[in-house]
Amino acid sequence: MSDKRADSVAFVRDTFIAEQPAPSSATGVVKWLQDNLFATWANGLLTIVSLYVVYLLLTATMPWIFNGIWNTESLAQCREVLDGSTGACFSVLSERWNQLLFGFKYPPDQYWRPTLAFVLMFAALAPVLFFDLPRKLLVITALFPFTAYWLIWGGTILTPLFALAGVVVGYFVYARFVKNSFAAGFFGAIVAALVVWMLGGQIIPENANDNALLAAVPSRDLGGFMLNMMLGLTCVSLSVPIGIALALGRQSNLPLIKVICVVFIEFIRGVPLITLLFVANVMLAYFFPPGSGVDLFLRVVIMITMFSAAYIAEVIRGGLAALPKGQYEAADSLGLDYPQAMRLIILPQALKISIPGIVNVAVGLFKDTTLVSVISMFDLVGMIRGPILASTEWNGVYWELFMAASVLFFVVCYGISQYSQWLERRLATDHR
């Protein structure tokens, strides 16, 4: 303090100190690490252990994946090439990819047909899933089942055309009568459609499939992941409307309808899916004379649809029960009749509540389609467990095949789940 001048005053700062960067321990990577990974010594220990486990996993799997062989013709050759080193034998995928995707009997020169149907599926799903799109696009959705049927099964175009005609006639009958009463429109439409289909069945000649533009492919020749997709999509889209009807029927005041719905739901839910599939495959074969049974694919679709419809009905019933009684009374007080009240007030809210549950059933159902491998249909898992693992070239390849199957299923199921989360955010109208 000896150099303190007499005229000096208490220190007054007249400039700002230049901004300093935050200390290295309070910013950037270090801070993040400290906060998230090494906050306490216990966390630090856990982090180190986890890193070690991740390291072990990666060192075990990465060489196996990156050292994989893609271009040999059999497992034995694969092992020769690897010569004792670690590596996957992905050759089975590059050689049999078409069987994994389409089954082993779908004619290879026709692969473009299911592929095209797959692409069209996105165009058809878009207007349903993303309802901000113009409503006119729904025409594509309405036409998709018939187009896809024609593309995948081939044969005469008359079959899907008559099927479409039945639906169109049914729609017009519905539109004509629905003003008088919903029931008249609904049942009138069904009868009209049935009449058209019967007529179509009579008109289409026996040998119409012989020289069709697209060669006919019997259901038995379908397989692979295509079969899973077809079963999943058909059954989910059919079981949602049926599930709604069952849920409403279960709440009905009419004892007969109520009893039918309750018995159906409880019976189906009390039976494992695999049992229903055996019934579809085995029992129904006894009821029809040899060689004339209903198509196996159709039998399986009916059984899986019944199964998932029962579950979806219960999910939707949960949604209906969650609505306050005031909503029902509000609808009544506006003078709406039952169908109007349901369509305009109750169901939009109930379905919104039910979305997570419905998606849950849909994802489960999609994965359950692999059960058809037990009744000798060659879906993705059936192809792997049957023909591919039983070929002399590839007997013994497990990890590669089942990993490929998991990846395919994961992509689809994760996509569905992401969509449902988006949908819930989009539909959220309550105040948070």
């Binding site: 497992l75 034995a76 092992r79 050689e95 049999r96 069987q99 082993f104 009997k105 089942p145 018939f146 049927y149 079959t159 899907p160 008559f162 099927a163 039945g166 289909w197 019967m198 179509g200 069945g201 289409i204 038995r220 055996f278 495959n281 085995v282 074969a285 006894y286 029809f288 004379p289 040899p290 060689g291 004339s292 049974g293 209903v294 198509d295 694919f297 159709l298 679709v301 491998s373 037990v374 009744i375 000798s376 060659f378 059936g382 467990r385 049957g386 023909p387 591919i388 693992l389 039983a390 070929s391 002399t392 007997n395 013994g396 497990y398």
Partner: protein, 339 residues
Amino acid sequence: MKKTVFLGALTVAGLAAGAAAAGTLDDVKARGKLNCGVTTGLVGFAAPDANGEWNGFDVAVCRAVAAAVLGDPAAVEFVPTTGKTRFTALASGEIDMLARNTTWTFSRDVDLKFTFVGVNYYDGQGFMAPKALGVSSAKELDGATVCIQTGTTTELNLADFFRANNISYQPVPIETNAEAQQQYLAGACDVFTTDASGLAATRATFEAPGDHVLLPEIVSKEPLGPLVRHGDDEWGDVVRWTLNALITAEELGVTSANIGEMSAAAGGNPEINRLLGTEGNLGEMLGLSADWATKAISASGNYGEIFEKNIGESTPIGLARGLNAQWTNGGLIYSPPFR
């Protein structure tokens, strides 16, 4: 979207109900295709290749029958069946015959009402152990852990064998064959037991097949053969004698290589002549053409050729003929005479 098909099928079902009573042979001829039940996939016995063509030891029987009846070994609709669906598929008439490594047992023959037309493979339950274990006989397996598929006859046979020899074992129950292979390789059990043909096929897929030995004991009888429904003996005869024709052809030295020459004209051996239809009217008695057996043998060769091509020692499966050698070579394969 398939409702039209459904309704159409319903009407057809009503119409066809009356027609179903005709004989299977006539049905097959009218249809122009043989519906043959096979497994969904078993190495060497039946599996489709990369082009979707079915191949294998059991498949060859289907092809031979199709060739004998319809003259075309490709006129077969292969209907894959699982262990659970195979018998109902046959009983309901969905398939005309079943060639699916099915063991001929009393209850299947009598109670389920099927006719086993013969045996095309004599199998039996065996054991596989790592060479390092140093056992040379199943009787030395006292205290061993054994990988075994649950709910199969293998399980019961195993218990019987160990009890009869008064030795103890520790079963490791396992659901599927694939899982059993993995467990065995991982060392979860000392010994793996299943049908001997299956053991050989499994061993062939190992990275080092030489490190594992098949023990000499065979602890059960598993005669595998094609079968048809009870109640249509004419059809049963067709399948039975087609199989016998393949066996007799090997015995008499008729192969796919020399059959063209042998069937062209009657030769010196009367039985070959009767078999190939250059003499007598055996084909007519079956309701088939005179050269039915010629076509059946041309389809994929005689019994020995089929064996060698699909499961024999030149294939990765590498099964020795053993019990399945001709009776003249000390095996059990034996056909009644063509007379």
